[in-house]
């Protein structure tokens, strides 16, 4: 084994948390090494957020072409090639991963390919193709090993008939029938993609509604719109067993006390993700864990001084943008700054199905829960000029505010570009703007953003366009 190479900071994992932490640390003048056993960019760039957005864009184009008549365009003969869609998504992911490699070079960040594990408090050992290399961190080690898909107890994911998002994002063929288990963001996004290409999709959810972390109204509308597109949504369903056999998979479910058997060519397991904390060397150093995630303080530091954990492995919201925010905080803390801690109550939540779903802050029922008096303003996209012109009028924008102070407690959007529109409110909440400041902000006409203004006005009882 070669002698240990010394750096200020060693980052294990280069997903959105790790690569952002590495770049920020380098910007602050620290020497940084990164360790990655896949391509830089992690699950997000290579197998998650980015390629799925490419697939969803394809689904959107398919959706538009199939309703081209609405726009007076006759398309005589057309074919949607799923394999091509997957190939395109691979190209997109490849380009973004190359982007991370470029940023590493630009910031003079060393990349060590291989699997990294803590050998001592400040030593990371990289098991690569060409042997083992020890890296010594003078200041700190940042762990950012991410997460991987979970399955149900007793159900093995073979990525052939029972697949996870890992398989779904790689497979160039698509099944004729698919059962999606789990109606969270991943389940609903893949349901959208496969259904657009003609797969008969059934979504099963144990909780009483789809997108269970979203506002009840958002869940209800999405369930209805998916149903209208021919996707079968079954909520409050318990999956008893999943059995692969010749010609497909059998899923035994229990709903309302009755047992029944469902069959499909494939099952997509979308029941959540588990932190990757095995073989990282956490136990030997006594790094504290809680319910499968690493326990961290406000700067991401673990129970062991000098070892930081960020992103999915550190729990809370398993979201790339939350990981990036934690990466910046950890890097700044290590560089001796006093960063503002991540505001976990103000992390936008986005689902990129059609129409998109986005939210920030509390749901309506949670906002009411404290015995607080709230005012709610809702504006449907059917009353928004830009949405009508686009021909995308499904959805609404809902603003929930504290009645007394006008504080924006939560915002929920279902509709075109919902995932972009949400940030007006995220910024507003960071600046502690109240409804008053928003309504005094002129919104350009015609834009989808006018729905934000109108919903805010509605919360004050002053909506103009409804």
């Amino acid at each position: 084994m070669a002698a240990a190479q010394k750096f200020d900071v060693v980052v294990v994992g280069t997903g959105p948390g790790g690569y952002v932490a590495a770049i920020r640390a380098a910007q602050l003048g620290l020497s940084v090494a990164t360790v990655e056993d896949d391509r830089p960019g992690g699950v997000c760039l290579n197998w998650g957020c980015i390629p799925t957005k490419a697939l969803l864009r394809n689904a959107e184009v398919v959706g538009l072409v199939s309703r081209a008549e609405e726009y007076g365009i006759t398309v005589k003969e057309w074919k949607a090639d799923y394999a091509h869609a997957v190939q395109r998504s691979r190209k997109v992911a490849d380009r973004m991963a190359k982007g991370v490699e470029f940023l590493f070079r630009k910031n003079k960040i060393a990349l060590f390919p291989g699997r990294g594990a803590l050998k001592a408090k400040h030593v990371v050992e990289v098991a690569g193709k060409d042997g083992v290399q020890a890296l010594e961190a003078a200041r700190a080690v940042i762990l950012a090993t991410g997460s991987e898909p979970k399955s149900l107890p007793g159900v093995a994911i073979d990525e052939k008939t029972v697949i996870s998002s890992n398989g779904a994002v790689r497979n160039e063929s698509r099944p004729a029938t698919l059962i999606v288990i789990g109606a969270g963001a991943v389940g609903m996004e893949f349901a959208d993609v496969y259904a657009a290409y003609g797969t008969q999709v059934t979504v099963l959810e144990a909780l009483p509604r789809v997108l269970p972390v979203e506002d009840e109204e958002s869940s209800a509308l999405i369930a209805r719109l998916f149903g209208r597109r021919g996707i079968t949504i079954r909520t409050a369903v318990r999956v008893k067993s999943v059995t692969s056999g010749a010609g497909g998979v059998t899923v035994d479910v229990e709903a309302e006390g009755k047992t029944e058997t469902l069959r499909a060519e494939q099952v997509l397991m979308a029941v959540g993700r588990a932190a990757r904390v095995k073989d990282v060397g956490l136990e030997a150093l006594g790094v504290a864990m809680e319910r499968g995630f690493v326990t961290v303080g406000p700067t991401g530091e673990t129970s062991v001084k000098g070892i930081y954990a960020i992103g999915d492995m550190a729990g809370r919201q398993l979201l790339a943008h939350k990981a990036m925010a934690e990466g910046v905080v950890a890097a700044e803390a290590i560089a001796g700054h006093t960063p503002r801690p991540v505001d976990y109550g103000n992390v936008p939540s986005c689902t990129y199905c059609r129409p998109q779903v986005a939210s920030v802050g509390l749901s309506e029922s949670a906002a009411k829960g404290n015995g607080r008096e709230i005012s709610v303003g809702k504006f449907p996209f059917t009353a928004n000029g830009k949405a009508v012109a686009l021909g995308e009028t499904d959805g609404f924008l809902k603003v929930i505010a504290d009645k007394r102070t006008g504080e924006i407690l939560g915002v929920h959007i279902v509709g075109p570009e919902a995932t972009e529109l949400i940030h007006e409110f995220a910024v507003g909440r960071t600046l502690e703007a109240t409804l008053e400041e928003l309504i005094h902000t002129i919104h350009a006409h015609p834009t989808l953003s006018e729905a934000a203004l109108e919903a805010t006005l509605a919360a004050l009882g002053q909506a103009i366009h409804i």
Binding site: V43, C44, S147, L152, P153, G154, S165, I181, G182, A183, G184, A185, V186, G187, E189, L204, E205, A206, L207, P212, V213, D215, R238, K240, S241, A270, V271, G272, R273, G315, R316, Q317, L318, L319, Y344, G345, N346, T351, Y352, V360, G361, L362, S363, S365, A366, A367, G369, N370, S375, K403, R404, T405, E407, E432, A433, T434, E436, E437, L460, Q462
Partner: protein
């Protein structure tokens, strides 16, 4: 019915709470109002009550566990009810058993359970631990004088959604000097509504900007009065403790870290004494008849012992009903006149002081006040107050009588408008009908917020308290 028990928010500043003890255990049957656990906050230990009935099915947070406000700590339900979904949806619920719960996926793009009370989808706290509803009229301030209008007839809604838009840039709570205060819109609004002067605050936001948290910290629950005292000046002073001066130590000094309670007091006091213009009115009360009445009451069999302080509480409660201007608090652009006498009682603790609230003193007979005040003080010292007993006072009494204090003045506990500081009852040479005699006298000093009331108003109130104590039979009717 499934009732989620969540970590209650006992003060605006409270972010996490620790479960000290489970009084009820898994499997115990529960009825509404049962005390189920003891919680430790930054200031006090409080007991929490069950709001739903059923069986304590699951304790989610073990004793000693600390969780954010709003997090699920236990589930109450009927024995046969399926509580798995509740546990699955809870931020830190343990892994749900078996393949039952299939979804709620924390997947890469979306969390299933967000371990923060303020995040989307967080478990709503169906139970509320809010202070007593403050129902009442809002008396608008007249612009010229800044004084409340006498007739509380027209109730002006504070900020009706359809009403005129508040000018967001109005320097609510800005310093009189007109210097610009850097504060977020939300911080300004909360400050204006709760009578906090932004000028006295330290901004923790970017560039020293005052943000919501700074204002809420200033408002954080807890006692403000300077004088700490037990509500009951217990009978006669016990035998004097030996007077020992400790031996000199090697160290020249010692730095004792602030306890959470001391830190809160240190933070809150300047927010009263600094921005609130105090004035003081002192009066001496002839306590001879009150003392006799008390002796007679305490000679009766079976009724709770009545202290001098109990008499003062009752007298204040009755006088407050006659002087709503003293039973008042500044609420931004209005003075809120309280129509209930909820009296805070400063109780000295080893680590600081705390002011539990004795509610509705205006309608409680003296013996009930005596019993409840004693109970509150005892439980305050034992750290067993309930959340609801720590907020909502409209007026506070601080009594240092048992510490041989002749008179003192106390610091107002915002947003209350006044506080009464009570000294010892002393035997003095007094002139009665032109002749010297021995009489029992007690001095009281009221500290008043000059933004809310004037000297004469405070004096008239004190005059009434004095009269009630000097004609003590009035305290019994």
């Amino acid at each position: 019915m499934i009732t989620k028990v969540v970590m209650p928010k006992l003060s605006d500043a409270m972010e996490t709470g620790k479960v000290i003890k489970w009084i009820k255990h898994e499997g115990d049957s529960i009825k509404g109002g049962d005390i189920i656990a003891e919680i430790e906050t930054d200031k006090a230990n409080v007991e929490i009550e069950a709001f739903g009935a059923g069986v304590l099915r699951k304790v989610v947070v073990d004793e000693g566990g600390e969780v954010p406000v709003g997090d699920l700590i236990a589930v109450i339900a009927e024995p046969a009810e399926n509580i798995d979904p509740v546990l699955a949806a809870a931020p830190k619920a343990p892994a749900a058993p078996a393949p039952a719960v299939t979804a709620a996926p924390p997947d890469p793009a979306k969390p299933a359970a967000v371990p923060s009370a303020s995040a989307p989808g967080a478990v709503p706290s169906t139970e509320t631990y809010k202070s007593a509803p403050e129902t009442g009229k809002v008396v608008p301030m007249t612009p010229e004088s800044g004084r409340p209008q006498p007739a509380p007839a027209a109730a002006a809604p504070a900020a009706a959604p359809t009403g005129p838009r508040l000018v967001a840039s109005a320097p609510a709570g800005a310093p009189a000097a007109g210097a610009r205060v850097k504060a977020s819109p939300l911080a300004k609004k909360i400050a204006a509504q709760s009578g906090v002067d932004l000028a006295g605050l330290h901004g923790s936001g970017p560039g020293g900007r005052i943000v919501r948290r700074d204002v809420e910290d200033a408002l954080a629950a807890g006692p403000a009065p300077a004088g700490a005292a037990a509500p009951a000046a217990r009978a006669a002073a016990p035998a004097r403790a030996p007077f020992v001066v400790p031996a000199r130590t090697d160290a020249e000094y010692e730095d004792v870290p602030l306890t959470a309670m001391r830190a809160t007091i240190a933070k809150r006091m300047p927010l009263s004494k600094g921005p609130v213009p105090h004035f003081y009115v002192t009066s001496e009360v002839a306590m001879d008849r009150a003392g006799e009445l008390r002796a007679e009451l305490n000679a009766l069999d079976g009724s709770p012992k009545v202290s001098v302080n109990d008499l003062v509480i009752r007298a204040c409660a009755l006088a407050l009903m006659r002087h709503p201007g003293v039973n008042a608090s500044l609420q931004g652009q209005a003075v809120r006149m309280h129509h209930r006498a909820h009296i805070g009682l400063a109780v000295a603790l080893d680590a600081g002081l705390i002011t539990p609230v004795l509610r509705d003193c205006d309608v409680k007979p003296l013996v009930q006040i005596a019993a409840e005040a004693r109970d509150l003080a005892d439980r305050a010292r034992a750290g067993k107050l309930r959340a609801s007993e720590l907020s909502g006072a409209t007026f506070t009494i601080s009594n240092l009588g048992m510490l041989d204090v002749e008179e003192f003045s106390a610091i107002i506990n915002p947003p209350e408008g006044a506080i009464l500081a009570v000294g010892s009852m002393l035997e003095k040479a007094v002139v009665v009908d032109g002749a010297l005699a021995v009489g029992r006298r007690m001095k009281m000093t009221i500290s008043c917020d000059h933004r809310v009331m004037d000297g004469a108003m405070g004096a008239r109130f004190l005059q009434d308290v004095k009269r009630l104590l000097e004609e003590p039979l009035r305290l019994l009717v």
